[in-house]
């Protein structure tokens, strides 16, 4: 918490002669997260370069390959965008509750159960029904299940005082066990031998690609979800109340805000996005629900959300960036003989440095217009 409060109204009304002042203030306030974020990424890349040097490889070559593999050609850009799609949704699962001050790390559970729910929904309806309504029903099923799953963690937080970080994590392990039980048991396709799966979806139920691209519609859904979330937080009174509650729960309660309903509602919406990510993974990538659903999107989503400082719109570029880093893993593995975990090391390094750099917020006068007078 910063000690000195920001009062834009006061500083705008100051006797500064230049008309440019409000614009400069606007830029300065928004420049802070961008500048600190970029500096953090550079420091992180620097440390990672040292690590790569220490094991006797060339960081320059690695970054070159990372660029080539992630964004160097239209093919690799499309690959990165495809990988970004689920990350957009799982990052929202972290970012929305974070606005209320909650750290939810169990998005993975909502992803796998959302995928199972979608597959289960398609099964009895399969065959004759037209594809579009079925896809809508699958999405609803996935969102309801994911919403209940994460919403339960929010509910427990407010009504039972159970820490949401731990409960969401436990719920995610429970969800993975449930998925295994469903996929091995009642929902198992007898034809799937080594890799137990639900019955494959008929091809017409699969979510197609965006016209002219080799990227499935999940990307569009994810971006829309980010924009809707941004509107929810920045524009609606529901989001405004959530931001107040996130700042100070006591103050929000004194104001008569329904903190319990806010927490349950926000976590449920967050979970429904993660559930949707599971449904998209089933209908656009896997074609059935199986253990591949637990591919770690929920965990990478945590990183994306923190990198984006829980801003839904900032999630879009960050998810694409991390999707690109993910996509370049294979190329690095083949060309440089490095293990596939190289990408994980890089992500971990970046994550730590970026969180560390939170400490620099509010320390630089240049980003704080209220302090400009005294220094200029």
């Amino acid at each position: 918490m910063t000690v000195q409060a920001n009062h834009p109204a006061i500083s705008v009304a100051s006797d500064d002669p230049t008309a440019l002042r409000p614009l400069l203030e606007w830029i300065a306030r928004r420049a802070e997260p961008v500048a600190i974020g970029l500096a953090a990424i550079l420091i992180g890349l620097g440390l990672f370069s040292l690590f790569i040097l220490a094991i006797g490889k060339s960081p320059a070559m690695l970054f070159q390959l990372m660029y080539t593999g992630g964004f160097g050609s239209w093919f690799s850009v499309q690959n990165s965008l495809s990988r970004a799609a689920p990350l957009l949704l799982t990052a929202l699962c972290v970012a929305l509750p974070a606005r209320l001050g909650l750290v939810i790390i169990g998005g993975e559970g909502a992803v796998v159960l959302g995928g199972v729910a979608a597959a289960a929904m398609a099964m009895p309806l399969g065959g004759a029904a037209p594809a579009f309504p079925i896809l809508i029903l699958m999405a609803i099923a996935a969102m309801v299940v994911g919403g209940i799953w994460i919403g339960f963690a929010g509910f427990l937080r407010h009504y039972r005082g159970v820490n949401e970080t731990i409960s969401s994590l436990l719920l995610s392990y429970i969800a993975i066990a449930l998925m295994n039980q469903f996929v091995e048991g009642p929902l198992r396709d007898p034809a799937s031998l080594n890799k137990p799966s639900t019955k494959p979806l008929p091809p017409e139920y699969m979510l197609g690609n965006i016209p002219g691209m080799d990227v499935h519609w999940g990307l569009v859904i994810g971006i829309l979800a980010c924009i809707l979330s941004s509107i929810l937080i920045e524009v609606t009174s529901f989001g405004f109340a959530a931001r107040i509650a996130g700042g100070n729960v006591r103050a929000a309660q004194i104001q008569g805000l329904p903190v319990g309903r806010l927490i349950a509602g926000f976590t449920a919406i967050a979970g429904s996005f993660a559930g949707l990510a599971g449904m998209i993974e089933v209908v656009a990538v896997q074609g059935s629900a199986n253990a591949s659903l637990a591919a770690g999107y929920g965990y990478t989503g945590i990183l994306v959300a923190f990198l984006a400082r829980h801003n839904p719109l900032a999630i879009i570029p960050v998810a694409i960036l991390l999707g690109g880093i993910d996509a370049s893993g294979g190329l690095i593995q083949r060309r440089m003989g490095l293990p596939d975990a190289t990408v994980l090391v890089l992500q971990g390094t970046l994550f730590i440095i970026i969180l560390f750099c939170e400490t620099f917020y509010g320390r630089f006068k240049i980003f704080n217009p209220d302090l400009w007078k005294r220094s200029l």
Binding site: R160, N163, L170, I352
Partner: protein, 308 residues
Amino acid sequence: MEETGIGIWGVPLAILAGAIRVSTPFIFVSLGETITERSGRINLGLEGTLVFGAMTAYAVAVMTNSPWLGVLAAMATGAIFGLVHGWICKWPKVNDIAIGIAMMQFGLGLAFFLGKSFIQPAAPHLPSIPFGFWSSLPQIQAALNINVLFIIGALLAFTLWWAFRNTRLGLILRVVGDSTDAARAMGINPDRVRLLATAVGGSLAAIGGAYLSLYYPGSWNEGISSGQGLMAVALVIFARWNPIGCFLAALLFGGAGALGPALQSIGVTQGYYLFYAAPYVLTLVIMITTSSPTRSLAGAPGAISLTK
């Protein structure tokens, strides 16, 4: 496990054996986390520390042919992870829970990266003591074949319980954990105490990892931990920051985890995968029943961010 001869009695025996075998990593990670949390900080990164410790212990044991050197090396890396976590978290505005998640990812990534070449060779195992020598039944002998680290863990739990209450160090730790201001007033540097407590916590968690790779399941691979490091955080809350409670809770977890395989061995295969969820469901239910929305948890260190 073969269940010839003792039939249905194999179930409680297998659960007991499983409890002893599976609980050791939980004991060490939760004791480490208890020390860290008693100092007023949370380290969620112990999952990464545990896995990195498992990798280090395995690699060093393969290279030196001594499992104990492996354990020592793991402790050293665990302490380094703890120092990094502790140093970063002393800065203002840095969220210890988030840093923990980041350290977890980093530790996992680094362990998988450096451990790639150690998936094949076999490391020497840690020794165990056959307490079941008096019985002629192989099941009982197997169940009572207890690893040395389990015994060390149990002793450590009692020692810590005693030390928290009766030693100067224990008092310092508790004061720092309960109130940063009170600690400063007493002339203690809370940041330094927390840094050391996090380092000790990390090195204990790494022992848990060493047990995984050097005894049970006894090899290094990327799926070696199924969340033991994270579960331990829940376990500490459940045990109310009491070391003996941690020991008992770890046994309970181990037993719950062994329920599925034990029932399967006597032919109960319905819902097999659901039994995997048993320890997690158990923890959640216990957390729900013992938490309260109006007061902080009994026994919780006052300066900790988790229960606020």
